[in-house]
Symmetry: D2
Subunit: 341 residues, 4 copies
């Protein structure tokens, strides 16, 4: 059994890590920390875990040493404390934004603050098995991408790396409310957020920088909060390289994802479920990717969807753990998702 | 023109008062106060009023004297400051809970605090024109019932007053999230509240006391938060007096509401819209009331619905103003509601 | 491996059976029938099963013989064909309404049609392991209760059987839209059903008869469609027998459910998650049960919730299969549910 | 009083026309036709109109002659019967798609069928007062744009006509379920549509052609069904002409909409309500338009929102009637919209 701890376990990403880890066949969840809730039972704030665990939140200074720790801590704080965290476990899997961008200039630009641990950045491997599986097999510093970033990277890198698209990519991202976390604020009031189509980041969303970094192409992304608790969907547009046709695109996706356990290509000619929709992905670790072409148009429209808390966060992190420790990559991540839901 | 002010205008009931008053043909909205937002434009927090008003929030000490003021202030504070408020206008229309219950014992029992202005209680007329129209024509102290209370009182008093029901009434109340107000708290986080069926008051909800007071019968009410921003629906059950049949019930409702502009009896044998549903009432001042009997059963099931911010609050208050000032009772309250919605 | 088939697999209950059975460690899903979709891949209408199965719908005349078949067929048709179904498998697990009521008079009363296979009724065991586990260990004809019935029976039988309540029970039931099945009709149009509080059965819902049969007490139930796809919640009220107090009720539930894998008692004094809420149960096989008392009141309010397609249908059926075939009762039913969701 | 009739009044656009017309101060609603519901009261399917009208649906052959008729009839049928309709009223206001496109080639391309009344196309004036007010003052054949088209045309024509943008425009459109009409089909089943992010038109949506026609620029639009009953929001992107800055864009919008009663420019630096959101527009005739620029980027992102049944359909049609008959342009269209909602 791999002995793990979750730091910052009271929030939504933290809770989702707990959900996956308590049911993981090869993992012992040894500790879950929360400053505000230490000593309290974790099923008090994560009621779906009732009867599944009797674990209580612990204080951070109660942590000892683990095979792996998961960091569901805020950006800024995470980089400030990373040296401390590295001392707590062989493997550190960071879900904050602090070690996602290789460029400190990009970090400062998108996060509005200088990076305070620049020497550590290079040691982190991007926690996306579909692109970095080999490196992850031996990685002990893993930085999991942002939720919308993962949906964009998985949608676009097969085309970008195969040279099928070029120039600027535009991304229209839609996200559920759990992406904002469990902090109460007027922006997350049910009466304000319910049914909203809130363009909260018309430009310059942080995840844009990750997609650009992974594809090597400029990206312009708009992010809208839609009526959903979980779920991210991206509609991306890119210009095709000359003479690229549908078969080339299908081939590129097949080459990239034909053997992947958690990426499915969904692009049908008709039906209710032609393209990826986050509605059926809640709780699952799938990222669905699809595309559409238009006769005579030089553009491709790519649609991708995932559960922001699972493949866009905690599930992806667990998948990285599975890769790192040589487990079945599906271990603890078998849930199919629900339909209807 | 009747010159009015709204005290506590930044919240949801306050905002709904502003919405109705800026469009009211016979009213001049002269002031809207907010401690936290004074000097700010009211359409900043009430964006539906963009282009309809340039009014700014004022401080309370900027108030002078008005024909009428509406109090959308918290309970406790309202009774503590009532003498001050009474000096500001000829007519005070209070939407807090402080002057709804005639009995100070009941108040203390349900609100958990002693009443601090007991001498004033008797001077308030209940702001429900369907039951108190004559008194309201000359009333200058008006206390508007609670949202669920209005739905319950309008549903049950015609039967209770006609002697058609007796014994204990049970009420199952469902309410949208706007009833909790605009304060951010974890209970109102979208991710927590969305899709919830939260039994937040299994017993002893405050509005229960108002229904009991109006019907003269004991009431046991359970309140559940359901997925909606606006809207209240009550399913009430009572035992019929001997030999009461459907005609008696229809007659009682017809006698009570045949001429009422804002209460409709909705009880069909079939169809999608057989019974009252708050879904089609958003923004309207209607309270719909319906009922069902069962062959051989001594019970009647009564269903009622309204928009908690309109007929359950601001709209009802404006209707009282109309009655008090001899205006058309429908003035400013003509919106029909939307279908579908 | 237990070899099973699902008859009527294109609908929502059928799809949920497929979801559970394709992931069940001890089951081989051998066939799934649909008249309208025979030959089509099952993930076309159940898109959550993409990459999890390549099974296609088969015609009913392609069925051979199985260890167990699950019937997700309409009432009336099910009883008319039961002899045929009994020939297809050792164990028949019926999810229709046809064999739930022991009394043919009650059946005719609630279903509006005479029972056409009265001789078979007695041979069916009620598919609710919490009440009928011993009989289910050897049962080859199993009738799974209705979704709201299961929530009511699990909530109320511990109190009824212990003699803690008496007289008439009133039940206020709320249900999501998936309970109406996958047939398109105006009552299920999104624009009509979204946000609705639709009292579709003010009296005489069929599931009422099942709760009455199980508790031995008269039941009056009202059913309301609320905004949810999955989920059932019941608020039930009953009169306490003399001298019954909170400890008695807790004891009764503890005795009934202390060792049950899928029933949790949820009754806290405070917090967002004081009482059962279907919101966190989607996809899980839990039925949560809670209660509230009021000082001085002779009533108990019981709240129960489940996912209508899982513990209210397909999950319950799989749990029965597990009991019947001596498997771990949790096999295939481990999903915890999501929070937030 | 202007005497009007609505043809095809049982659907959602028809119902919305009835809602606006029964409350219109200068209109007499003389007839509302429905083939399937003739003789039935209109509040049976439009329950929001209870107590507001006793009108019944009539057969089409009961129509006589009106000042104006509104056509809420399907495309194809509308052009086939247009000669007949033109004989029924002085003014025909068509809400179908048949007379929106000036080019019969574009019509055939987007609608998949040849135009059968090409000689009539030129006689229709586009029913968008913001662009065609002068022509509408005397127009007796008016073709109201599509819901997403109106949101796109109002967002983009001020920039296109001022030469501030050039090249291809991309549009990401999101729409509620009422846009699909009141016909029951599996695509509109609540269980399927609730919470969906369904990319139903990745390319070639019909409304794209209207935006292109109005702006004179190529348009590529993707349409996604989102969780909402009412509401359309578009996020459009275009390349700026050289040296265009924020002031130019604000000036163009001010010039276009400074005096418009129903278009508001909404583009704030911060706050929950920075950009247009359909959530607060339900029932209102507003189209809100906003935009965002990014330092160093040659693109502008334009956000627009409206209620698809009001400014995207019935409200726009009534506004055209007001212009044509010299009424106050706001007559019958005063509802502000709700917040929260």
């Amino acid at each position: 059994m791999i002995r793990v701890a979750v730091v910052g376990a009271a929030g939504y990403i933290g809770g989702e890590l707990l959900r996956l880890l308590v049911s993981h066949p090869d993992v012992e969840l040894a500790a879950a920390t929360s400053r505000s809730l230490q000593g309290r039972q974790i099923d008090g704030v994560h009621p779906n875990l009732r009867s599944r665990t009797t674990l209580r939140f612990s204080a951070e200074d109660e942590l000892d040493h683990y095979d792996a720790i998961f960091l569901a801590t805020p950006h800024r704080e995470t980089m400030a404390r990373m040296t401390e965290f590295l001392g707590l476990a062989r493997t550190v899997i960071d879900l904050s934004g602090d070690f996602r961008l290789a460029s400190t200039a990009a970090y400062e630009d998108y996060y509005g603050t200088p990076h305070t641990a620049p020497d550590l950045i290079e040691s982190f491997v991007t926690g996306l098995p579909e692109l970095h599986r080999e490196a992850l097999r031996t990685a002990d510093r893993i930085s999991v991408p942002g939720c919308m970033a993962s949906a964009g990277i998985l949608a676009l890198t097969p085309l970008a790396h195969a040279g099928l698209i070029r120039g600027e990519i535009t991304v229209d991202a839609r996200t559920g409310s759990s992406g904002s976390g469990a902090k109460a604020g007027s922006e997350n009031l049910h009466a304000e957020r319910s049914g909203a189509l809130r363009v909260f980041a018309p430009t310059r969303h942080r995840h844009e920088a990750e997609i650009s970094q992974a594809t090597g192409l400029p990206v312009r992304m708009t992010a809208t909060g839609v009526e959903a608790v979980r779920g991210v969907q991206l509609v991306s547009r890119a210009h095709l390289a000359p003479d690229v046709d549908e078969r080339d695109i299908r081939s590129a996706y097949r080459a990239a994802y034909g053997d992947e356990p958690f990426v499915r290509v969904v692009a049908h000619r008709r039906g209710l479920h032609r393209f990826p929709d986050a509605k059926i992905l809640s709780g699952s670790n799938f990222c669905d990717v699809g595309f559409a072409l238009e006769a005579g148009s030089p553009q491709v429209t790519v649609i991708s969807a995932l559960d922001n808390l699972v493949k866009g966060g905690a599930g992806n992190a667990v998948q990285c753990l599975n890769v790192r420790y040589g487990l079945s990559e599906r271990a603890g991540l078998e849930f199919t998702g629900l339909h209807p839901n």
